[in-house]
């Protein structure tokens, strides 16, 4: 069964990255507990949303006092990148039954999507089932680590006392390193976004959740207009 061995290979290849996801997951569980979510709720969120960064943003915004709509919009804006990622999967997904398309897009995350493309560039003919195998591994690790984090949090000190509140900032900085495509592509859009955040939050004084969506739109919009010129 070629699809079986592809699932297994995808599962195995993603394991080192899954360690990072587990650390993320434990930390997110702590944050979820701050938002008064229990283990079951945290696990359900992990399985149904399966987009770690957006879950962190949404729960972080809620802990900071934002309303449901504001928090969810900030998280969904962060997930807009998934639109590009699944768009790039069209050749792997077309001509598949509808349930395989739905499974494939739901299991698409930064890690297994990037790994599939990287493995391909090294000359291995991996595709849909490799992506699914990696996604299943990440889903299992994400759901179990976030649930564990939320359950253990009740017997743990306050996250800030552990420095865990900063873990997400550090994680996003590491992710930024991976997202950086070089000065020609990213320097000006990133400067515009960063500058816009500072002005919108400190001068215009709008709610930070909206500031980050607006600032991201300004930077990306500039990149698009520049690219079209």
């Amino acid at each position: 069964m070629p699809w079986k061995s592809d699932i297994q290979q995808g599962f195995r290849d993603i394991a080192p990255l899954a360690v990072g996801v587990a650390i993320y997951g434990l930390a997110f569980g702590l944050l979820a507990a701050q938002a008064r979510m229990d283990g079951l709720q945290t696990g359900m969120m992990g399985a149904l949303v399966f987009a770690g960064a957006s879950q962190i943003v949404v729960v972080e915004r809620i802990v900071a006092g934002a309303g449901a709509m504001t928090a969810v919009l900030a998280g969904l804006a962060l997930n807009l990148r998934l639109l590009m990622m699944t768009a790039a999967l069209r050749e792997d997904l077309s001509a598949r039954p509808w349930w395989q398309v739905m499974l494939g897009v739901h299991l698409t995350s930064d890690e297994n999507w990037a790994l599939m493309h990287a493995t391909r560039r090294q000359g291995h003919a991996v595709g849909y089932w490799y992506l699914v195998g990696g996604g299943l591994c990440l889903l299992l690790v994400w759901v179990s680590s976030t649930t564990l984090g939320a359950v253990l949090a009740q017997a743990m000190p306050e996250p800030r006392a552990l420095g865990m509140d900063f873990a997400f900032t550090a994680a996003f900085i590491a992710i930024l390193r991976g997202l950086w495509r070089g000065p020609r592509a990213d320097l000006l859009p990133w400067l515009i976004s960063g500058g816009a955040v500072v002005v919108l939050v400190t001068v215009v004084r709008i709610e930070p959740s909206w500031a980050l969506v607006l600032a991201a739109g300004l930077g990306a919009g500039f990149a698009g207009v520049r690219g079209n010129a």
Binding site: V49, M84, T86, R177, L179
Partner: protein
């Protein structure tokens, strides 16, 4: 605190719609031009904005720890290591600053 069920429904439904919508769009839209360039620049711009918001809400200890995290990310490109360095740095700096 907002209602958990409402947040979960909106976030899970919205995220799945984005994932499925991307596949739907990918079959229809050109892969070149300004529209595609703007969207491909979006993840970096958004995460940078998020870090900027978080750092604005922090103080000197967070700013110093962020500087250390940037250094470790540049040197190692390793997510867990960058997180560990950031956590240790912020703990040390909060004790001092």
């Amino acid at each position: 605190m907002p209602d958990f069920g409402l947040v979960l429904l909106m976030l899970a439904g919205g995220t799945f719609a984005i994932r499925l919508g991307g596949y739907w769009l990918g079959r229809r839209l050109p892969a070149t031009g300004g529209w595609a360039q703007g969207l491909s620049a979006l993840p970096g711009c958004l995460i940078l904005s998020l870090v900027a918001v978080q750092l604005l809400q922090g103080g000197p200890a967070e700013w110093g720890a962020a500087l250390i995290a940037v250094l470790i990310a540049l040197l190692t490109r390793n997510l867990p290591l960058t997180m560990l360095a950031g956590i240790l740095a912020v703990l040390a700096l909060r004790a001092v600053v």
